[in-house]
Symmetry: C2
């Protein structure tokens, strides 16, 4: 991305092994993330930045110290590099690894190949070569599914719980799927977009709320005996959506937030008197990858349906436009 | 409190039973809270407000529906009224009870007697009439100990954990005590006040950090192998202290915050990239009262040492001055 709104597909040198813990992955598919729209729209700085942080593909080369992967393995990677051995990783927070590095920006996986540092700690091999029909779902695990899943875990979605999901983008939809898999009793999707409402219902939403902001909060309270939801997931990242999520959470309830906050200022006093648990940030996708890959492999979940536009990598610019204009929820780029 | 800085002890009508779930308590002791200084200093509005929300005493009269208490019982109450039967109470968040009401302001326990609504859900009787020496500790359970305990539980203090406590007021000191009781391995008290440092060490602090703000954060990181503390307790409520607490928490760690926030604006993006759990707000003291009363009764903890000035109720105004000028950590008022 040369500048906001200016996406170009260009030839670049092939990546090479630099550190002995690196792997080179030949990508099978990649995609465009909702968070890629922040720089596209000029909200985040961008200047000739390598884009893309979601990826699946085949290991083409490994460094001398890579132990768990071999050339030819099909792998899914997290959007944050992690060693998966440090104290923070062992506690399940690989996105805060002492060696954490964002794939977006410096690596960039909207590409044919990528050099992945700390390959053992970042990549997970699938049980075998996947059927082509599984590729979109495995690709979703790399970020949107992993992030939605983390949000649902952070919000402590589970049996007997009412879960409200703020945001009907790909991550919000994946959070609906995750809440259902985690056994939530009732899942309220907050969306005013007919096609996304439909997809939310497909993934397990039991209720749809179209209202936003304070009206949205009032509607959630109405549906929960005046108390608010046990579990609320924030998957947008604006001031309105964040405070809507805080307001929709019952006292003592759990808010999981994964929408990348931009210019959000949380009034401390409001959060204080809400009396809620919160957990958020870049999702430690690596924690969940083995489980998510297995669920996909066994055809128990179908996150790949979140992709509603497929284009060749060369047409990435059109993919960005389609997402920016909300003509597409999520764009898969083929190679 | 007629106005900021203007505290007067005046005769008022005796309280009477209004609802059948009420009890009238004749107070044995009361005290002044750090949070009483907010209106005293004009940070919170105050206009002829009934002050005080910490109390112990003897039940003098009960309404027809009070079941668990009888006249003559010695009781400790929470600073928030709760029915202790609603869904929120049963989940342990009595301070967000559907019948929650703050004792401060409308009831006011810097007084000889108080009408306590929802007596069954708010008051806990001690195993018998306490020795006078136990009264300060039982009074501490009503708020500062209960609040510090909640903060330590919210921060998930426990075996193997390093806990940092931001704030050396009574609540911060009680959080140190709680962290020790919960089995924390290392407890870092952030304080630059020699007498409070000493008290922090008495209650279980293993380390003292005098630096504040970003320097304080850097010092905590230095002491924790660059990672930050597992558990951080915020017991002040200013912008600097809150962000110091966020910064001192390791990725995936837990922040428990109980300092009443005033004019704190939390930058969403900073909280997001911190990747931490948070839980805070007015403490559900009622949840912990039975356990805390027993620990005090059995002489296992000595929270009463947090009172370093005792005055008769008539001299409440002098008590406020002493706390405002930091000549006293916490003032007990006798009756």
């Amino acid at each position: 991305m040369h500048a906001p709104g200016d996406v170009r597909v260009e030839d670049r040198p092939d990546p090479e092994i630099v550190e002995p813990t690196d792997a080179i992955v030949r990508l099978s598919a990649t995609c465009i993330c909702g968070s890629d729209l922040w720089p596209y729209r000029g909200v985040e700085d961008v200047d000739h930045t390598l884009m893309g942080h979601e990826y699946v593909g085949v290991v083409e080369e490994i460094g001398a110290e890579v132990k768990t992967l071999k050339v030819g393995d099909f792998v899914v990677g997290s959007f944050v590099i992690s060693d998966n051995t440090c104290e923070i990783c062992r506690a399940g927070f690989q996105s805060k690894c002492v060696h954490a590095e964002f794939v977006a920006g410096t690596i960039g996986t909207q590409a044919q190949k990528a050099r992945i540092p700390h390959a053992d700690g970042t990549l997970v091999a699938t049980p075998g070569q996947p059927d082509p029909e599984l590729i979109p779902s495995l690709l979703a695990a790399s970020d949107v599914l992993g992030t939605g899943w983390f949000a649902a875990v952070a919000a402590e979605a589970g049996p007997g719980k009412t879960v409200a999901v703020v945001g009907d983008g790909a991550v919000g939809l994946m959070a609906v799927l995750a809440a259902r898999e985690l056994g939530a009793e009732r899942i309220i999707a907050m969306s005013r977009h007919p096609r996304r409402q439909e997809l939310a219902r497909f993934y397990g939403a039991t209720d749809i709320v179209e209202e936003r902001g304070e009206e949205g909060v009032a509607r959630i309270k109405e549906l929960t005996n005046g108390l608010g939801a046990h579990s609320v997931i924030e998957a947008v990242g604006t001031q309105e959506s964040f405070m809507q999520a805080v307001g929709a959470t019952r006292g003592g309830g759990h808010l999981g937030y994964v929408g990348v906050n931009h210019d959000v200022q949380i009034p401390g006093i409001q959060l204080f008197f809400a009396g809620i648990h919160t957990l958020g940030g870049p999702a430690p996708v690596r924690r969940f990858l083995p489980e998510l890959i297995q669920l996909i492999w066994d055809r128990k979940i179908d996150p790949g349906k979140v992709f509603d536009l497929t284009l060749p990598l060369e047409q990435a610019a059109e993919g960005y436009r389609a997402m920016d204009e909300r003509r597409a929820t999520k764009v898969l780029l083929t190679l």
